[in-house]
């Protein structure tokens, strides 16, 4: 296993000093053109590559941004990631990504490793377990150390830049529309009741139907949702379903399809699902579009601004969701 050659070794070979080599490689005006050339040529033949670790340690800058996400199987998160990447790629920064799989321990560990010199800033969407556990010390410790930006999965008590989705209003509006269209009994289904964003959406639902309808809230895994929904539809108890995440949206869709109440809109469905999936369902699913890519882009831009001038006050930006009407409403 041949190690990378170092400046020191290079300097020995060329019989010049270490500093000369370093300067030559960095095109310093102090070095004559002839020796510059000689040194650069040697660097090429020996395949010299500066050791990033050393450079970063010395300079105190890494020009990389850590992105800590709970999951990438989540279509929204992966769009956010693409958004972030699309703007960072154009800057002088790099990103390194760490996936926590919704685990608290993994998140703490990721944040620790990244923040101790490996990155200049962190973008994070906290994990489900972290939100349940409500232990945010690994994040509050960061404040004042390196810039931190929270995206989507926000912790209110932490004073940092935030980019979030208008979860409460998105559902409030969607449900209000359903009511306006004449829907008399709207059920809510969710597999993300542990997440703050889930709770917020449920609140939006509750607020919208307040004094107008009896709330019907089904929170749990797809199996549970399917069987409960099945009963409700059989007994004609509902005429619309609002689903808060892709898993529950697809569960609702499957049942609606089995019960044959989708084609005539006997039961409407509005849910959350990736574009590809929504459009390939038959009938096509009406969804709430959170504009994940825009969320990512907004986050990255805000962070870049912060990296530029740390003096400004932390900012919170809300990205509005819109409903993408297809067939099921």
């Amino acid at each position: 296993m041949k190690k990378n050659i170092t400046i020191k070794e290079l300097s020995k070979i060329l019989e010049v000093s270490i500093s000369t080599v370093s300067k030559a490689l960095n095109d310093s005006y102090e070095i004559s053109d002839s020796t510059k050339e000689r040194i650069k040529a040697a660097a090429k033949t020996y395949n010299y590559k500066p050791n990033k670790l050393a450079v970063n340690l010395k300079s105190g800058k890494t020009y990389t941004i850590g992105v800590v996400l709970p999951s990438i199987k989540n279509f929204f998160m992966s769009r956010v990631l693409r958004g972030i990447d699309s703007v960072i790629a154009k800057s002088k920064y790099n990103i390194i990504i760490s996936i926590t799989n919704e685990s608290f321990d993994k998140e703490v560990q990721s944040v620790q490793t990244l923040s101790n010199g490996l990155v200049d800033a962190i973008i994070i969407a906290v994990s489900e377990e972290t939100q349940i556990k409500k232990d945010f010390s690994h994040l509050s410790n960061l404040v004042g150390d390196i810039p931190l930006l929270m995206v989507d999965r926000i912790v209110n008590s932490i004073n940092c830049d935030k980019v979030l989705v208008d979860d409460y209003n998105a559902i409030f509006n969607a449900v209000s529309d359903l009511i306006f269209e004449g829907k008399k009994s709207i059920a809510l289904v969710s597999s993300i009741n542990n997440l703050n964003v889930g709770k917020l959406r449920t609140k939006g639902y509750l607020a919208a139907i307040q004094n107008k309808q009896e709330p019907i809230v089904l929170e749990g895994q797809e199996g549970y949702i399917e069987s409960e929904l099945s009963k409700l539809i059989e007994s004609n108890k509902i005429d619309a379903i609002v689903a808060l995440d892709q898993e529950s949206s697809l569960a609702a869709f499957r049942i609606g399809k089995v019960k044959k109440v989708l084609n005539n809109k006997e039961v409407s469905i509005i849910g959350y699902a990736s574009r590809v999936i929504s459009e390939h369902l038959t009938p096509k699913l009406t969804t709430i579009d959170q504009h994940g890519k825009k969320v990512g882009i907004t986050s990255a831009k805000l962070l870049l601004k912060r990296l530029d001038s740390s003096e400004i006050e932390p900012e919170s930006i809300i990205v509005n969701s819109t409903v993408h009407k297809r067939f099921t409403t």
Copy 2:
């Protein structure tokens, strides 16, 4: 912006030497319990965190593995990533991920940054552009420097560990089965003709129909595939379609649906698509399952083995695809 406290500063505060602090923090037997406690307490109150950069530079080890992937919107790649992550997470290593977006420049840059001290090894699936350009110097330079493992998107000429999918055989077998079932005219559609895996699959198709049928090969974007397929179906020219990737699979599916030739299997389709999508299509799509997670797991395990003992010869492992029969065949 308060910087992290260092050992040096801590030693000044506690009025002991730097080495004492370092040893105490690392639980060295050389330090008395009393001072150990004193130092650890101080470390906690001042929120001391060792600087990873310095530790890694010193030790020459980073215990992190770089994973360079072309895309995560690709469902197969994201499953591979999850597989890798699932085994690395249980080891003493970490992973950092870099997405190249199928770009050669981004890939070169990622590999450069990662390999110069930031990681102990790299797992890579080369980008589309790299395969087209056929410039692999950034990868061959790695050989003998740090362990390199290629997954799925392989470069044959590079001597390193490889984990690949049996692309040729997967399609050869699928097409042979279709012929056996009596299909007389099987079209191939692909949006990945630039990728070696795509070429391999096409070869498998060609070999299977050789001397039995006229090949019909449609390579291009979804729009092109849709319109060509449309004509072929209208003129009863084909009775089966083999699609090599999710984009073309869905294009074929849409056309089949529009032409109403799916429910009676007048035209069969076998394609590549994520499980969720395949199962939510109506009718459900028969697919070739590449077992992405298994590919990831296999890769990670092999790399861990290599990190353990670099002496063994590079290995190539093939993960077999299987067809998941649903409705469209």
